[in-house]
């Protein structure tokens, strides 16, 4: 049991965190190193780099075209991502000592977001199950990810509502993780499940579609300015296969 606890609570978290960072860095490197042969702006596209960057930021933060096209999905995805952000920020209280004022301030909204999270996930899941074209393109990975996220959020809620764990011990453990001074919680109970699902999610993250939040910034159609008429664009592999 002791060995098992050491693996789950001390070794795997460090491995998963390292995997997450290295994996994401690798993905970004691949995107950056893949050439962009042609200018492919999509009307309406700003003509300057600054304008294009602003558009990209607006898109990433507010998904304006989705709000027009599919208000229901927009609501579901915005509430999911915002709730996730609040919940993650609330969790900072377990990794910072003393807890900063603003994290304490986010405590109540963070707890409320904990209830929004599974609701939004269920909305996303049911949408996937009722729409014919969506059901057709859905892969096992899509359901797997939704299941993982539901698992994390529901086990988190259960820890809060049903099977409370010793938060002082948990905090001693999490502080120990980030300061590399190992501490094992005595009786973690359901917290073991919560942590395990988080670890699977973190390890899987860089190899899945979940990187879309980063990949979006590398999409040529979304990030290029519409300046082909006055800016020379060079295709780095042009001429490699002349006849």
């Amino acid at each position: 049991m002791e060995t098992w606890n050491i693996i789950v609570f001390l070794i795997l978290p460090h491995l998963a965190a390292a995997g997450l960072v290295v994996g994401l860095a690798y993905r970004i490197r691949v995107w950056l190193r893949t050439p962009v042969p042609l200018k492919i702006p999509l009307t309406p596209t700003p003509e300057t780099r600054l304008g294009a960057a602003r558009r990209l930021a607006r898109q990433a933060l507010g998904l304006p075209n989705l709000r027009r096209r599919s208000p229901l999905l927009w609501l579901a995805t915005m509430s999911f991502h915002l709730a996730l952000l609040l919940v993650l920020l609330r969790h900072l209280r377990y990794f910072l000592d003393p807890v900063p004022e603003w994290v304490l301030f986010l405590q109540k909204p963070g707890v409320a977001a904990g209830y929004v999270l599974p609701a939004a996930l269920l909305l996303l899941l049911s949408r996937r199950l009722v729409s014919r074209p969506l059901l057709h393109v859905s892969r096992p990975a899509d359901y797997f990810i939704l299941a993982l996220l539901l698992g994390v959020s529901l086990s988190g809620l259960a820890l809060r509502l049903l099977f409370r764990t010793d938060l002082l011990e948990v905090k001693a453990w999490s502080l120990g993780l980030v300061s590399f001074s190992p501490f094992l919680p005595g009786e973690p109970g359901l917290f073991t499940l919560h942590l395990s699902v988080v670890l699977v999610l973190a390890a899987y993250f860089p190899f899945s579609k979940l990187t879309h939040g980063l990949g979006l910034f590398f999409s040529p159609a979304l990030s290029q300015p519409d300046d082909a008429l006055w800016t020379r664009h060079v295709n780095p592999w042009d001429g490699e296969e002349e006849e």
């Binding site: 690798y26 993905r27 691949v30 995107w31 893949t34 050439p35 962009v36 042969p37 042609l38 200018k39 492919i40 702006p41 999509l42 009307t43 309406p44 596209t45 898109q59 998904l63 075209n65 989705l66 096209r69 599919s70 999905l73 995805t77 996937r128 729409s131 014919r132 074209p133 969506l134 059901l135 057709h136 393109v137 859905s138 892969r139 899509d142 190899f207 579609k209 990187t211 879309h212 990949g215 979006l216 590398f218 999409s219 040529p220 159609a221 979304l222 990030s223 519409d226 082909a228 008429l229 006055w230 020379r232 664009h233 060079v234 295709n235 592999w237 042009d238 296969e241 006849e243």
Partner: protein
């Protein structure tokens, strides 16, 4: 999957002209893997599309093909997934080619057949890309897939037919230099008979102000569009010429791969080199204009490298005519009453509008040349435009058009009876699409056709000295 509207394979002689295998090569899985992995390493747009798509399905609601067929395999998300399936079979999750290809890890006949069918049904209109919240451009996936298919010997008929003709003759309809000259002579005769004025349509004249690249279709069949352009040049007093080396504004090589795109773009530069014009003006074309405006400089360098050129910037005939209009070149010469027989609406060609931002110039021309102009519903115009059903050479790919219904419905809702557009493929496809709706009596024509018709009363008055120039109002 092989019902009506199934794409047909290209003719072997066309593929040979293009230097592509004329039939499925015996070791196609190897060729397929090599081509697909090469493109994955060369196109960030392809890679981010496969990586970013979360299969939210919003694109399906934007896709004119899916809306019409209801086949879930036609949805853009399904196309991205189809490409991702092949990648999953060829590449491990770290991005390295798989060495061990167990069951379910090979690209087999079934997957190849699905690739050929679905990737050749897409119209490349990019309406889905505009809807995607994550910047996925499914058209980039389809273009790459078509290039892979062409490399394995499964080029699509539409693009291959047209691109091979452009390689042989400089235009996608395969018109000989003689046929181009005849067409222009015929046009001069027609215009003299109808207006009484010697409107010229010169061919291969050196040192003109404008080298004009008409869509080849304007030279081959219905010459109303080219007549409009000739009248514009004449009324504005601009010298112009057509080239027999590049008697085309289109570039179907794009739909077969970068190498073919580049090769056909070179035709324009050969013509510029020979004729030394001051500016190059592209005729009424959709995808050809996107190639000219966004790709040409990357493919072949700036036009200004040619000594006599005034601007390195390519111009679309609508932009060019709009500039003349704003300068007052047609003041007192436009009579919109000449078009009073119709209520006109404007169909945005996908690549011109969504791909190259050509939204307002054609509308300004129409408002100046037409009294009754109306718009179609807002979600089918400008950057939200709905494809005519002939995108990506689709008109020549299959026995019928698919994907034009959305446009037909929008047209019916507009109450117009003349559908003007500024793309030759749209102009060829829209009558077929509208023919399926006999309740819609409609004519399809070019923007310049209508603009030219509004110039006719002025030109006719030149032939008859007793009536003064028309007092038409060309202000908007």
């Amino acid at each position: 999957m092989n019902g009506a509207g199934g794409p047909q394979p290209a003719r072997p002689e066309d593929l040979r002209t293009l230097g592509l295998p004329a039939a499925l090569v015996p070791d196609w899985p190897g060729r397929f893997a090599e081509a697909f992995l090469r493109l994955l390493g060369r196109h960030r747009s392809l890679r981010t599309a496969l990586d970013n798509c979360v299969r939210c399905g919003v694109c399906a609601g934007a896709c004119p093909v899916y809306i019409e067929t209801g086949d879930p395999g036609d949805s853009p998300a399904a196309l991205v997934e189809l490409a991702r399936q092949a990648r999953w079979r060829l590449v491990s999750f770290t991005g390295r080619p798989r060495r061990f290809r167990g069951p379910g890890r090979t690209v087999n006949d079934g997957l190849l057949a699905r690739w050929f069918h679905y990737f050749h049904r897409c119209l490349l209109c990019r309406r889905c890309a505009g809807a995607c919240p994550l910047g996925v451009d499914p058209a980039e996936v389809v273009l790459a897939a078509r290039e892979v298919l062409a490399e394995t010997g499964l080029g699509g008929r539409g693009a291959a037919t047209l691109a091979a003709a452009a390689r042989r003759t400089g235009n996608s309809l395969g018109l000989s230099a003689e046929a181009v000259r005849d067409a222009c002579l015929d046009l001069e005769k027609e215009l003299f008979q109808s207006t009484g004025v010697a409107v010229r349509a010169p061919v291969d004249e050196k040192g003109c102000e404008v080298l004009f690249l008409p869509p080849a279709a304007d030279l081959a069949g219905n010459r109303a569009g080219l007549a409009g352009c000739a009248l514009v040049f004449h009324a504005a007093g601009v010298s112009w010429t057509v080239s027999t080396r590049a008697a085309d504004a289109a570039n179907y090589g794009w739909f077969l791969g970068y190498r073919h795109l580049k090769r056909i773009n070179r035709n324009v530069f050969l013509a510029v080199d020979q004729l030394r014009p001051r500016v190059v003006v592209w005729g009424e074309t959709g995808h050809g204009w996107r190639v000219a405006r966004n790709f040409s400089d990357t493919l072949s360098g700036p036009l200004a490298g040619m000594a006599t050129l005034l601007t390195k910037r390519p111009l679309h005939i609508c932009e060019f005519t709009e500039a003349l209009l704003l300068k007052g070149a047609f003041k007192g010469r436009l009579d919109p009453a000449a078009n009073d027989g119709w209520t006109v609406t404007y169909h945005d060609p996908c690549h011109a509008a969504r791909g190259a931002g050509l939204l307002d110039p054609p509308r300004r021309l129409l408002r100046a040349a037409v009294n009754r102009f109306v718009e179609m519903p807002g979600n089918t115009i400008r950057e939200m435009t709905a494809c005519c059903g002939a995108g990506a050479g689709r008109l020549f790919e299959s026995d019928r058009t698919i994907g034009g219904n959305l446009r037909a419905r929008a047209f019916a809702a507009s109450g117009a009876d003349f559908l003007a557009t500024t793309c030759d493929d749209c102009r060829a496809a829209l009558p077929k699409v509208l023919a399926e709706r006999p309740d819609l009596p409609a004519r399809v024509g070019g923007v310049l056709e209508l603009f030219g018709r509004a110039l006719r009363p002025y030109l006719e008055s030149l032939g008859l000295p007793e009536t003064g120039p028309g007092e038409a109002d060309d202000e908007r």
